[in-house]
Symmetry: C2
Subunit: 205 residues, 2 copies
Amino acid sequence: MARAKSPSRHALVDSALKLFWKRGYHRVSMGDLVRETGVSRGSLYSDFAGKEALFHACLDRYQETVVTPAFGVVETKGAGLAEVGQYLDNLLARNAAHPDANTGCLVLNTLAQITPQESDTMTRLSAHGRRLHKGLHQALWQENQKHQKLDEAEIEALARFTLISIQGLWAQSRGSSDSAALRQYCETLLSLLASRMGVEPLHGT
Amino acid sequence: MARAKSPSRHALVDSALKLFWKRGYHRVSMGDLVRETGVSRGSLYSDFAGKEALFHACLDRYQETVVTPAFGVVETKGAGLAEVGQYLDNLLARNAAHPDANTGCLVLNTLAQITPQESDTMTRLSAHGRRLHKGLHQALWQENQKHQKLDEAEIEALARFTLISIQGLWAQSRGSSDSAALRQYCETLLSLLASRMGVEPLHGT
DNA sequence: CTTGTTTTGGAATGATCGTTCCAATAACTT
DNA sequence: AAGTTATTGGAACGATCATTCCAAAACAAG
């Protein structure tokens, strides 16, 4: 029944995702989406219930194609502080690669643009936060197994701290394309975490 | 020449500020502003060039009536780490006082909502960032005078780190009204700063 | 070719928005 | 009081938006 569309469904959503990411949900019109995706108005409305449904598909695809490749390293079984550092490096590299168009994180941008009323959207954003928190907690817990300096409550506090710090990093990465400052921030964050956990200072790039 | 308006100019801007703060620039219509400020459409357009000019007046007033009372303690001459802690406490108290309507920081919300094209607005937002950075740098420098553990470059890095962390805190404070988590974050941040600077752990409330 | 099904491009709809304009009203001055 | 100025409420305008609708075109299968 589902027949091949001119641009595949993934390609369609990817185009839409790119637009939403760059300009934000409210600043993308259906006309923009028609032009950018190359799919007609009629087809868009037959494939998706409306603009919001299409956006939700983009949020889901963002998890697959952006969050997982970047954050997966932290979520793997034996990950520790070094993997958190890898994630931050990846984040910095992405930023340095596109110094002009600084888009930040789609989830955090959206969080600042919607109201709590749009609860379907909000649900997805919360899930993203929980995903990151869980991954960070696991990595810090694993790291702590080696040195045993912190108890569970302290690990939890550090995980939360790291999560919020990363949110600040994303926020800062929008507008300010001073990648040296961002790098410095990541180094400071990692070095603070390391010293608190009793890890010898890491030798980053 | 300038005669007294029915609601004083400050009261007018305060009403508009409240709306912009709660809903964001793009989600406030001129109709909303007329209803909320109690000033007619005609008068609004004779007092301000348009919606954006009114918003700029609100951003300026936000600095006077919100940022200065909260952040001034860090900007005073002899301020150190303790005053940074006071600022964070103030921030947490503000958050706990309005657990329902969590508005975050007007400047950071706006930063996530506008595009770099709106450069007049962007200028004001950048100035806010510079103000906070300068105040934090000064306070950390002052604190470091007592212990002499860090050099200038490290102070600069720590100031930047603190600034971005505070941005993350503001971002987190929107939506999540889990004030215990926010408090925990502030405590972790302060304790990390203190240990890095060689300060005995502070006894917060 | 001839059906039957998708897809297209664009017109039409109804809503909201920022801004302008202006006659009616209120407030102040002399 | 009358005369002058400031303010009001709302109509009107032009623009943009999400959504709906549909005749024409493209395509697939028999």
